[in-house]
Subunit: 281 residues, 2 copies
């Protein structure tokens, strides 16, 4: 089974607790193989992404939105660096969503999301996303229960609209264990170059691990649509996590199969104009 098929969340109820966090579904190589395989994807990823970018510059409307969700330390940033970093930064738009500002809270939860959507031909990346509004939003009761309930449908409508307007939405849940998170938080405390990533509140949130997992279970189930399916990526192994997201991006781009835009001018005429021009200096 391919990595993509292996990671695709089946329809129906979701129980993250039953999904291994340190597995490598669809891949039977070791760490070094996986790292080499990801690096080997680089040129094709970059080529396809440039084609999509070119398409977007010449009237095309297709683009990709990569949504990265996961608990703290699950590696959203590292994934980005290792996968999205393989393509030309000009064609990428990354948005990291933090706690909403007062202005953002005065609007519907999708308002700030709309404003961050990628343009034509762009690979948009959301480091956290509208899903926070049904995750921490639910766990921390940041909105009334009926509003939280409303949001699942609103998200599905929103993503349907994105798909209809040419956006392929790739939703990745980076799935780590509570123990792995603990080790990663301890590692941050052992390395002064990582203190800035540590927030004492992260430990408090761990007490709510079960509540967060339940909120994920529910959100994944309710928004796992045909048009915008979820991929649950075991993320304890960083190399596998990177390989998986890189593979999903590559598979998505291959499906889109963007072509170099044809000339909308007469190549020979333009060449002759250049060759015959009055000398310029």
């Amino acid at each position: 089974m391919s990595i993509r098929d292996a990671l695709r969340l089946p329809a129906g109820p979701v129980d993250l607790k039953s999904i291994e966090t340190d597995a490598a579904p669809g891949y039977d190589g070791k760490k070094a193989d996986g790292e080499a395989a990801l690096a080997a994807m680089g040129p094709e990823l970059a080529d396809l992404q440039e084609r999509l970018f070119a398409e977007g510059r010449t009237g095309g409307t297709r683009n990709i939105l990569l949504v990265l969700q996961g608990m703290d330390t699950s590696g959203k940033g590292g994934t980005l660096r290792h996968t999205v970093g393989l393509v030309d930064p000009q064609g990428v738009r990354i948005t990291s969503f933090k706690a909403p500002t007062e202005e953002e809270r005065s609007h519907d939860f999708l308002w700030r999301i709309e404003r961050a959507l990628p343009g034509p031909g762009i690979l948009g990346v959301f480091d956290r996303s509208h899903y926070e509004d049904v995750l921490i939003g639910r766990v921390r009761s940041l909105a009334p229960p009926e509003e939280i309930e409303r949001r699942y449908g609103a998200i599905n409508d929103f993503e349907r609209r994105l798909a209809d307007s040419g956006t392929t939405v790739v939703k990745c849940m980076l799935h780590i264990s509570a123990e792995e998170q603990k080790q990663r938080l301890l590692a941050r405390l052992d390395d002064p170059s990582k203190y800035w990533k540590f927030n004492p509140g992260d430990i408090d949130e761990r007490a709510l691990w079960g509540e967060y997992r339940a909120a994920y279970d529910l959100a994944l189930e309710k928004t796992n649509t045909e048009i915008a399916p979820w991929y649950v990526i075991p993320a304890d192994k960083k190399w596998y996590r990177n390989l998986a997201v890189g593979t999903l991006l590559l598979d998505t781009l291959r499906d889109l199969d963007p072509q170099w835009p044809p000339a909308d001018f007469d190549v020979d005429v333009e060449r002759a104009r250049l060759l015959d021009e009055t000398p310029v200096e």
Copy 2:
């Protein structure tokens, strides 16, 4: 003399025609050496940029704005890919300025620029910039002469304000010859994967090469301030152009000398909290 010192535009009248486009000021290596030297900068560039990013996440206000200007085909995009591509894409914000929209034209020329300024700790990159408003703006008379004249001072005031608020502005003019541009346009016409980059209007603009150069001479002279100096980068040799911009970025980051933010919590207390916590799963 260092590359930076060699590229720094001296104060006073500017005559781009007298500045070589295929030289390699401040560097005596060959192409392969230059490419290796740029690649060797990667880890330090990435490390320093991450430190700046960390600083920005923890209350710091400093950032960098790299402004890339140059005639069509001068390699703004390629420079970006090869230099900015060396750092973590999360810490980068690239804006490509096209012909202004109707809404943008209804505002002062700096309105859209303000909106694209990088946040704290971010490496902002402008692929074209507010300088277009005194370049094509002047050559094509897109604004009344007195408005164009006003803009030079407005730009200096604006950049002074950026500097005062913590932004280091690095302004690079990628300097190619008319003949080199001709060869690059012909190359685009010979390669179907580059048709999308070609616009017949680019040839028409070549007839105004002298007017554009005069507009650059004037803009460079009038906005070559101590606080935001210009670097004129011979750009016929792509490898040198990349090495030069990479060097300017690295020198700028070294000057800023960003440090990993100290912990604003008690490391031992937090470690103990983690180690002593009620088991989480």
